[in-house]
Subunit: 556 residues, 2 copies
């Protein structure tokens, strides 16, 4: 006992706090460490050209010898998207359910990492020993199959790490969230709970996934044309329900979109998806069936420009053409920021004479996250001593903290740390004790972290007003310009209609050069900065725009 | 009668169809023309650097001698924002209610146009004769005071042009939409109706503005700290209700944000806003009152980065600092695309210890547009022979057309034209007869229309991967390079960490120059395009990025 009271449990979220996405949490006890989840997130609007954002893992790499393994709660990108980048630096075993690891395997293949990494299947109800940590997987409901919460034990105590979850009493696979186990853990005594805050703003309960199936059945029963259902490929239960309705109403199923094809294959192989032989047909055979015998399952529920649905809507899909009489069901909610893309696709579909069911027009989508009443239920079952709301922007975390308070938890037992803050637990206490480097690493093409603030600032500047390059060749001996100034602009004004402006700009540069020569100014940096200043002033006065100005001086 | 059957009424929307915003419709009869509304819209995400979008008015300018006047339905930007640009080209009288013209006057002042334009006050219930057109203003409810629908008469028949509207039986100013007049027009016989489709996706009724006042009263009654209400400055009734609650609960009022100050001044002067003397205090006097005696009315309900509320949230406001205990009410719904900006502000406010009421958390906002049941009411009162849904994206127009059909209107009497399409009416017919130039003109700084597809394409390219400028000086006589290649990059990679890459890039350029010299290639365009091709290939292979490459060759 002496040791357990001395050695503290340290928990450090490297992402997923004060933000939606890139969930990643470090658990340390003495010389042992485990990592829970390893997610990425989408670039913000102010990160042009960036493909992906992952957590800063420098802390993890620094103490990588302690890392016993990575445990995944489920297979969404915000929980597994950073795996290839972390595994390139630290090769440790990865633990997760079959569904989760099926998706991970696909991802690692793309990165050429699949053979070097040890993936260990564990199912809900079982336990993993990782050094001083015992990690138990508990079945929960979510918008992807094979999702688990974690009960993490170490000598200091028991932590419940919910991951993403909701309570579904009538889930498609029959595997209701293991509320009994949460209750048992609560009885046993839980030191702290880290819980999903995504839907804390919504009162009541999240509807059961099976509601969507009932809607599908109703719509399928009434439809006399082709039906196209767009949803997230990873939402296997949603896909199962669309398939079930197709079977009930005697429709053949066409799978469209790369990730939809991938996931249907993985999920069928692993037994998460049940499709009778012959139910799925090749897209090329579609025309041998009348429209009312066809269901197309497709990606593109977020209006992503390169997705199958967006290409159909824009008449750019090679195999599938939208026809009057088609019914498209967009079975997803827009991720904030995607509304305009989705609306563009919906407009195009309507313009082609199709009918579209979307957003709140019908019960065609349910969330994967717990609403207020479900959160209250988990709090009351688990009854942790300390509570840390996670998976949310500050407004979500704050409201989740308020919800916990309203259930009787003392405010001093609730922590809203930032990413990188280390929470130190003893058997009877919790405090924030220092912090480690944390933040966002931007992935752009092959570059990981080489796009930083300066590059982004320049990209934003260039995107607002374009640029003007000014080139002059100067005689080394005399300092007189012997060629140029030449001016090239891009993204600034339409040059053919602005020849006069360009000529005036050249005159401005010439007079700066003249002045410099007369004043015996020979330092290039001074000449360049004078050109920049004068040209900037001139252009702003003429156009009220501020292009980036790049003076280049060549010396011969 | 002979003449009226020969001369057709031509109606051409130049904006506001298949889009939200830039509402503008041309009515022509023989040699007479009127323009209804003159709106602008926000730039789309794929228009970086653009400040404002206005309709293409080349058709209008071409036949400007026919234009008798511009009639405005209300003072929102999507109905008046393009006025300064049109009035610079065509100086005609502008007609509108006092509130509308008050806002127009402010706008024209900014453009230095206020003295040259004739503004004519007309109130709901009165009529204007403009050539062959008689235009009657009918009071309706909307989220700005002084909003009217138009009944437009010419020898061909009577057109009802609703503009934006909703039905509010308990509006703040007591001026209920003039349903009786719509019914009379219906009795008289309406040839066609152009009607607002913004909220056609929403079932039921839009709640009365007075609901918000009741919520304000309830919140104010319970609040013991400072209250800050953020809303659109132009929503005078909303502002009146916040002021009323402040008066009821003995709070002084501070006005913050340039447009809020402007609108409160205009609306008070014109009698749309009633504020007792001494109720409004200067922000500098705020600290002589305890927090529970203060209401701050501010702009920034959309999270606009430069708005007063965003500056308060970011601790950048000179006079107002957010404190724990403050309650912020964001009394508006996010315009699609603004969600992330608003959420950022809300997060910051919570982090400063304030409480925030927003979005659907309470009845703190109602829409300004008619929902399905209100639309049905107007359709049934007006009973037009032809119907043209306007003010919406295609999905809205289509659904509005379906709503009209469901009320019994023959589908062949419903038209969804595109902008620029001319609808030709006789006393007994309507058809689409040709089209005129129409589209979007982009305003960037002082430039109107000089930013087109090429400039935007370049800006987008630059924002994604930045650029690389390559400069070489070549001897005119020998064709050998005598200075350079120099390479400058911006927005591509962080240069200090990429020196090796830059050196390799120079080597690529040198070898291209060498090859060109050996092959006697002397055409600059060929040399440049070779440099571009080789460098592009090299950089993509190394980085999977595609910066814009600008080769410059100087000849001495």
């Amino acid at each position: 006992m002496a040791k357990s009271t001395k050695t503290k449990l340290k928990v450090t979220p490297l992402g997923g706090i004060n933000e939606i996405g890139k969930n990643m949490t470090v658990y340390e006890y003495g010389s042992d460490m485990i990592l829970v989840d390893c997610g990425s997130t989408f670039p913000e609007d102010d990160m042009p050209g960036v493909d992906l954002v992952i957590p800063d893992t420098s802390y993890l790499v620094k103490i990588k010898d302690k890392l016993k393994g990575i445990v995944l709660t489920h297979g969404h990108e915000d929980h597994i998207g950073a795996l290839p980048y972390v595994l390139k630096e630290i090769n440790v075993p990865v633990y997760g359910t079959r569904m989760t690891l099926g998706l991970v395997e696909n991802k690692l293949k793309e990165f050429g990492l699949s053979t070097s990494v040890k993936l260990v299947h564990v199912e809900a109800g079982s336990k993993i020993q990782l050094g001083a940590f015992e990690v138990e997987l508990i079945n929960v409901n979510h918008s992807i199959a094979g999702t688990v919460s974690l009960a993490i034990r170490c000598p200091v105590g028991l932590i419940v790490h919910t991951g993403d979850f909701k309570v579904d009493y009538t889930p498609i696979d029959g595997e209701v969230i293991d509320l009994g186990r949460f209750a048992q853990l609560g009885q046993e005594g839980v030191l702290a709970m880290f819980a999903d805050s995504t839907n804390v703003e919504r009162p009541g309960y999240t509807m059961s996934e099976s509601v969507v199936g009932e809607t599908f059945d109703r719509i399928f029963a009434e439809s006399t044309g082709r039906i196209i259902v767009a949803s997230f490929a990873s939402n296997v239960h949603r896909i199962q329900q669309a398939i079930n309705s197709a079977l009930t109403f005697d429709r053949k199923i066409v799978i469209s979109g790369r990730s939809m094809v991938n996931v249907v294959n993985v999920a069928t192989e692993l037994g998460y998806l049940s499709v009778p032989d012959g139910a799925i047909i090749d897209v090329d055979k579609m025309n041998s069936f009348p429209p009312e015998r066809i269901l197309i399952l497709t990606t593109g529920s977020q209006g992503e420009p390169m997705s199958a649905l967006a290409r159909m809507a824009a008449s750019e899909h090679k195999k599938i053409e939208i026809m009057p009489g088609d019914l498209i069901i967009i079975s997803a909610m827009p991720i904030p920021g995607n509304e305009k893309m989705i609306h563009r696709v919906i407009n195009e579909l309507f313009q082609k004479g199709a009918d579209v069911i979307y957003e709140s027009l019908d019960e065609i989508h349910v969330s994967g996250h717990a609403c207020q009443e479900e959160l209250k239920l988990i709090h009351k079952l688990v009854r942790p001593k300390y509570f840390i709301p996670v998976h949310g922007e500050y407004r979500h975390l704050k409201r989740h903290a308020m919800l916990a308070e309203s259930l009787g938890m003392p405010p001093e037992n609730i922590f809203i740390p930032d990413i990188g803050a280390t929470m130190e637990f003893s058997e009877t206490s919790c405090k924030v004790a220092g912090s480690v480097p944390a933040g966002s690493v931007l992935v752009d093409g092959l570059g990981v972290g080489d796009v930083g603030n300066i590059v982004l600032r320049d990209r934003k500047h260039l995107s607002q007003d374009g640029l003007m390059v000014v080139v002059v060749t100067i005689d080394k001996e005399t300092g007189t310009s012997i060629a140029g100034p030449d001016i090239i602009s891009r993204g600034f004004v339409y040059v053919r209609e602005s020849e006069a402006l360009m000529e005036q700009a050249k005159a401005v540069v010439k007079s700066v050069l003249e002045e410099c020569r007369n004043g015996k100014v020979r330092e290039w940096t001074t000449i360049k900065s004078n050109i920049r200043d004068e040209l900037k002033k001139f252009l702003y006065e003429k156009t009220k725009r501020n292009p980036m100005i790049l003076p280049v001086i060549m010396e011969v």
